[in-house]
């Protein structure tokens, strides 16, 4: 079973617009990570936010974490067609070893 749920499951926007994806999880975490997966390819790590952090930036990416609501959001600003991919949040649970627990993903399509 999967720990998190992404919302929305699919998102279609125009190039230049911002894209926001949300992730909810169920149990306490050590950190939360966001990954991108292009069709037919492996996962690429985007950003990691620790449980004691509230916001983090990396280029056009902005991630927030609200541990009281057990939720995170990923904002991609000024989207490009190359951002078209599936985006997954993954959590590292406390006392659950080293593995990542992934959500179901948001499929983002950016139209040129």
């Amino acid at each position: 079973s999967q720990q998190g749920e992404e919302d929305p499951q699919a998102l279609s926007i125009q190039e230049g617009e911002n894209a926001t994806m949300n992730c909810s999880y169920k149990t306490s975490i050590n950190n939360l990570q966001w990954y991108r997966q292009n069709s037919g390819r492996g996962l690429v790590h985007l950003i990691l936010i620790r449980s004691n952090e509230r916001e983090k930036h990396s280029g056009r990416l902005r991630v927030t974490l609200d541990t009281s609501k057990k939720s995170s959001s990923l904002l991609i600003t000024a989207s490009r067609a190359a951002d078209t991919a599936s985006y997954f949040c993954a959590t590292v649970l406390n006392n659950a070893g080293n593995m990542l627990t992934f959500g179901g993903g948001t499929r983002l399509m950016v139209k040129p």
């Binding site: 390819r41 790590h45 992934f102």
Partner: protein, 116 residues
């Protein structure tokens, strides 16, 4: 440098066949993970190695699944007597440290297994 590589990239097996999937992690990476990704779903954890030691195999779905990393580098995931429900993409990831949860996991391209 080279990333994580996996072979084969695609495998078609008849139900009941045994398959072996190979993962070459990034050189020097201590931790190695296997995940299973069903179509349209997120990856699910299968097993974890720290060097040659298999420290967690709680995600392996049945005793038909077996993984090894005998010399602490290359790993093989073996599935015996494949079933249709085994059809999925099998992803391998490695990380440099022995505590993967504080460290970025680098994923390979995956092996897409189709069981007919």
């Amino acid at each position: 440098g080279a990333g994580v590589s996996q072979s084969p990239r695609y495998k078609v097996a008849k139900r009941g066949q045994d398959v072996a999937l190979r993962c070459d992690p990034i050189s020097g990476h201590v931790s190695l993970f296997w995940y299973q990704q069903a179509l349209g779903q997120g990856p699910e954890f299968l097993t974890y190695f720290q060097n040659e030691a298999q420290l967690d195999k709680s995600g392996l779905p049945s005793d038909r699944f077996f993984a090894e990393r005998p010399e602490g580098s290359v790993s093989t995931l073996k599935i015996q007597r494949t079933q249709q429900e085994d059809s999925a993409v099998y992803l391998c990831a490695s990380s440099v440290k022995d505590r993967g949860w504080t460290d970025t996991q680098y994923f390979g391209p995956g092996t897409r297994l189709t069981v007919l």
